[in-house]
């Protein structure tokens, strides 16, 4: 156990050769007249052509690193100590012209929202050409080079894309254009800040493949910033883990994720369902406590208050960076004890098995919804038949625009379905309009929205928010109301002190708990969970998922769980329904749908998901855009993107029926199940 000081080992090959060299960097933001440290003593280097990942939860300082590197810190932020060198130059010491040149030639950035990175009033081609013009090319040459660049980011029809305005491009297409622009100057360093977070999994996979390929072509170093551990594991050679502004662990990606040597990294990894983990295998672990507020004075290790193995010395002395293996460091006194980190959440599971009752709680027949957009009929949902069993969790997956949310809204009665659709609950028809539903039906169906900031009225207190369903739906008042309120607050693991607060005073996880409490207040039978954790940090996500599982066991509710995160769906769902262009492609028990044989679309969705446990050896990639729901393709709607399309032409001409391929497993595909099994028999995973 050697405690090296925080200086990165002065490698002979490193030094001036490094694309990025950051040493002892402190960045502070001045808020209300006080400097608050957002980064403390951060040191790392990125070698030429290396891909370096920074992971961390929100508020860890990931983006501040990127902003400091390019000297784009907001006006109240400043580098208060330490040094930065990019390609041998110090951006902090450059004069405005030199700084402009550095940004124009040496560093490029790609942000989360491609739509915001492009100027909406300028055609895409013009925007890319500008980069070349800055570099001194003539107008015609610049346009020619732009077209070439767009081709290199795998845009099949660059000429047409160049003529378009940014809003006419899909998210994935726009992000490619941004990447094309970023690479046009052939920078030495490309900074990607959550580049795929706003994209669908299938598009994300394409963009990640593209970035990995281009990195080699362009001989560029990457700084890849993400909250998604799997994406970082896939994309990066080395990884640094940021926590509350400190780089707490660093090392080669695979090693670090396989054998974390800091309790925080360990905890983060345990928050994610992995290797096909399911709710009946045990609860996810969570990290207790909360991120310290920025700028707090800390005596010892910043993670000590949340660490289950912290000792007295952890709280008294800040740990130095320990050398924990070749090219690895950890800021933890107890890095050797990390592998045996005790769980913070007990494993034991109490599960409600879905009741084996004959009658499903909800039957959906021929459910369709047509919206009219600019005079065109858009079929958001087309003839979906689905039964929801009592007490089960039905996972609903599909890309954006597949109709997941529309299905949920129709079920809830927030949007009326087309004529001819039928939804029944316990054999009673459910009115298409909420106002036509009686109190029993109103009570039965509730929702937990994705974003609690939007779902909670910001002017109401927690008490008002949680009591309202008790008054309106459960019909409680007086002491009974107070008793049930206290009960409900306890069951979502909140405390009475939270009751007088308003949503903006709560953390993201707490807000979502309030939303869950509201959904459960009326004693619902079905709760729609529409991406309930995607706005939350990983460590909070696990706690919310555990809460949902506990509540299900206690209240015997049925969940309709909508998520784009397939690992989450797999963890929580009993059955899974896969939607594409408003049609049901596959429906079956979660394990069967995941292990296969599965519908080629499901297969593509699964191959798109980056995993921490190594990639599937064979992967199929979806190319092309999701067709417009206004003019869905003929035959099987998936045939335009299907990598396993049959040569006979039947896929183009005839829509396959949703047929049972094995007990309880339905699929809408022309390929016979045996053939699918053969096609999809992968090498066993390493």
């Amino acid at each position: 156990m050697t405690a090296t000081e925080t200086t990165p080992a002065p490698d002979a090959a490193a030094g001036p050769e490094n694309a990025v060299q950051v040493e002892h960097l402190d960045v502070s933001y001045r808020v209300r007249g006080r400097d608050r440290l957002a980064l403390r003593n951060v040191s790392f280097q990125i070698a030429r052509n290396e891909s370096y990942g920074l992971v961390g939860e929100s508020g860890s300082g990931k983006s501040t690193v990127a902003l400091a590197l390019t000297r784009y810190l907001p006006r109240n932020g400043r580098v208060s100590a330490g040094s930065i060198r990019i390609a041998g130059r110090d951006p902090l010491a450059l004069n405005p012209e030199k700084l402009r040149q550095l940004r124009a030639h040496s560093v490029s950035m790609v942000y989360q929202e491609p739509g915001k990175a492009l100027n909406p009033a300028i055609r895409v081609g013009r925007q890319i050409a500008e980069v070349y013009e800055v570099a001194g090319l003539g107008r015609a040459d610049a346009l020619e080079r732009s077209e070439e660049m767009l081709r290199r980011v795998q845009i099949s029809d660059p000429g047409r894309v160049m003529e378009r305005y940014p809003h006419e491009l899909s998210g994935g297409m726009a992000q490619r254009a941004v990447i094309a622009m970023a690479l046009a100057s052939e920078p030495e360093l490309l900074i990607l800040d959550e580049p795929t977070t706003a994209l669908d999994a299938t598009v994300e996979a394409e963009v990640l493949d593209l970035v990995a390929g281009l990195r080699n072509q362009f001989d560029t170093s990457l700084l890849f910033i993400s909250h998604n551990l799997a994406v970082i594991a896939k994309m990066c050679d080395r990884v640094g883990v940021l926590y509350a502004g400190e780089l707490i662990e660093e090392g080669p990606a695979q090693q670090l994720f396989d054998q974390p040597r800091h309790p925080y990294t360990m905890g983060l990894l345990r928050c994610i369902p992995r290797q096909g983990q399911r709710k009946d295998h045990g609860r996810l672990d969570s990290i207790p406590g909360f991120l310290p507020a920025p700028g707090q004075a800390l005596a010892g290790c910043i993670f000590a208050p949340r660490c289950s193995i912290a000792e007295d010395r952890c709280r008294e002395t800040a740990p130095p960076a320990f050398d924990v293996g070749p090219d690895r460091s950890s800021r933890c006194f107890l890095h050797e004890a990390t592998p045996d980190l005790p769980r913070s959440t007990p494993v034991n599971v109490e599960l409600s098995a879905p009741a084996e009752s004959a009658q499903p709680v909800v039957t959906i027949r021929n459910l369709s919804k047509t919206f009219t957009s600019r005079g065109q009929a858009v079929h958001a949902l087309a003839g979906v038949n689905l039964d929801i069993e009592r007490g089960e969790t039905l996972g609903l997956v599909g890309e954006s625009g597949s109709g997941k949310t529309t299905l949920a809204r129709l079920l809830l009665g927030l949007t009326p379905p087309d004529a001819g659709s039928a939804i029944e609950m316990d054999g009673e028809p459910l009115g298409g309009d909420l106002r036509k539903r009686g109190r029993t039906q109103l009570k039965a169906l509730q929702i937990v929205f994705q974003n609690p900031d939007s779902a909670l009225n910001r002017r109401h207190t927690v008490r008002q928010l949680i009591s309202r369903p008790l008054v309106k739906l459960a019909g409680l008042s007086g002491p009974a109301l107070q008793e049930r309120l206290a009960d409900l607050v306890r069951s979502v693991r909140m405390e009475a002190r939270h009751l007088p607060l308003r949503p903006r005073q709560l953390s993201g996880g707490l807000k979502q708990r309030v939303a869950i409490a509201r959904a459960f207040g009326g004693g619902p039978r079905i709760v729609v969970c529409d991406e309930p954790t995607s706005a939350l940090d990983v460590s909070v996500q696990a706690a919310i998922l555990n809460l949902l599982a506990d509540l299900q066991a206690k209240e015997q509710v049925t969940y309709l769980f909508i998520s784009h995160d397939l690992q989450l769906v797999r963890y929580l769902s009993d059955r899974i329904a896969v939607l594409y262009l408003g049609r049901l492609m596959e429906l079956g028990p979660a394990e069967r749908v995941f292990s296969g044989p599965h519908h080629p679309y499901t297969e593509a969705l699964l191959s798109a998901v980056p995993s921490l446990d190594g990639q599937r050896p064979q992967r199929i990639r979806l190319t092309g855009e999701i067709p417009s729901a206004a003019s869905p393709p003929s035959g099987c709607v998936f045939h335009t993107r299907c990598p396993r399309r049959l040569a006979s032409g039947i896929c183009e001409s005839t829509e396959p029926p949703l047929a049972e391929v094995e007990p309880g497993h339905l699929m809408s595909c022309h390929i016979p199940i045996d053939q699918l099994t053969t096609l999809q028999s992968y090498e066993p995973m390493p």
């Binding site: 208050p305 939270h498 709560l506």
Partner: protein, 291 residues
């Protein structure tokens, strides 16, 4: 070895400290304090007018007409020898009664209309919005005259007419704020609890558009002062016996050419300072509650 989290040194918390109330945030702003002091000055004048004025605003001194500002008459005297300083001080009352009341009328009606149109939407909203736009296209002063003539010039008629003129303006602002709120998920969440339209509008949505209404109110108040002064200047001032800034400008405006500038200038400065005060307050309110 394992200790519960929350050891001394770090107060990691799941909640944020309470924010400062709006009035404390406002008091931190020099622009607000300046504006509020100007307003306060005029409010004091309006309330205590005759008791702080050095002379009676109505007392004529026919031997001392059109006197330039002096130690005896800081703002000079008018054609009838009345003390201009006293007239300016006492004239604040009329203004500070009519302008705020008119703005309140406009804000209440506009908010109700905007809430209903924004929340209910549909055909009614479409039609009403077209009507609002048509009304807004007419010159406001002309519309005010049209109503003023049959109603007669009284405090009440001025309050109502200016209030009605403001109604569509405020309704339009409130309506678009409500439409933004309607996109948020708390609206369907409340509908799923079986809430009725009235509850949705007044308990769920209204509190969230209050900041917008507050800003609109302060901005409109400035315009109301301007409207009241303009009406008086054009001869629609209430009761000629009470001092009125707009009427005074009008009365002394004719003798400007003779070099008697004080009779018009001081009431005009009074109007300007009041509007500036209101605008300073409005700006700060907007920055604090919206920004």
């Amino acid at each position: 070895m394992a200790t519960p989290p929350g050891t001394p040194g770090i107060v990691a918390s799941d909640t944020q400290r309470r924010e400062l109330p709006v009035w404390r945030l406002l008091l931190r702003r020099p622009t607000f304090v300046t504006g509020a002091l100007i307003l306060l000055f005029w409010v004091v004048c309006a309330i205590f007018g005759t008791s702080i004025a050095p002379h009676s605003p109505l007392a004529q001194q026919l031997l001392a007409t059109n006197q330039a500002p002096s130690a005896a008459h800081w703002f000079g005297t008018d054609q009838l020898g009345r003390d201009m300083l006293s007239r300016v001080i006492v004239g604040a009352r009329t203004m500070l009664i009519i302008a705020p009341l008119a703005t309140v009328v406009g804000t209440v009606l506009g908010t109700a209309l905007g809430l209903a149109l924004g929340y209910l939407g549909g055909v009614v909203d479409l039609l009403a919005s077209r009507v609002i736009e048509a009304v807004l296209a007419l010159p406001a002063l002309l519309v005010i005259f049209l109503f003023m003539v049959p109603l007669g010039v009284t405090t009440l008629s001025q309050v109502l007419v200016i209030g009605f003129i403001f109604t569509p303006l405020i309704a339009r602002t409130v309506r678009s704020a409500v439409q933004v709120e309607r996109q948020l998920d708390y609206v369907p969440a409340a509908r799923l609890l079986g809430e009725r339209s009235g509850w949705m509008m007044f308990v769920e949505i209204l509190p969230n558009v209050v900041p917008t209404i507050l800003v609109e109110f302060t901005v409109r108040l400035g315009y109301a002062v301007f409207a009241v002064a303009s009406l008086a200047f054009l001869g629609f001032g209430v009761q000629l016996s009470t001092p009125n800034w707009g009427t005074d400008i009008n009365a002394n405006y004719a003798v400007l050419g003779a070099g008697y500038w004080w009779g018009s200038l001081f009431p005009a400065l009074a109007i300007a300072s009041l509007i500036i005060g209101i605008n300073l307050v409005a700006d700060s309110v907007e920055q604090v509650v919206v920004g």
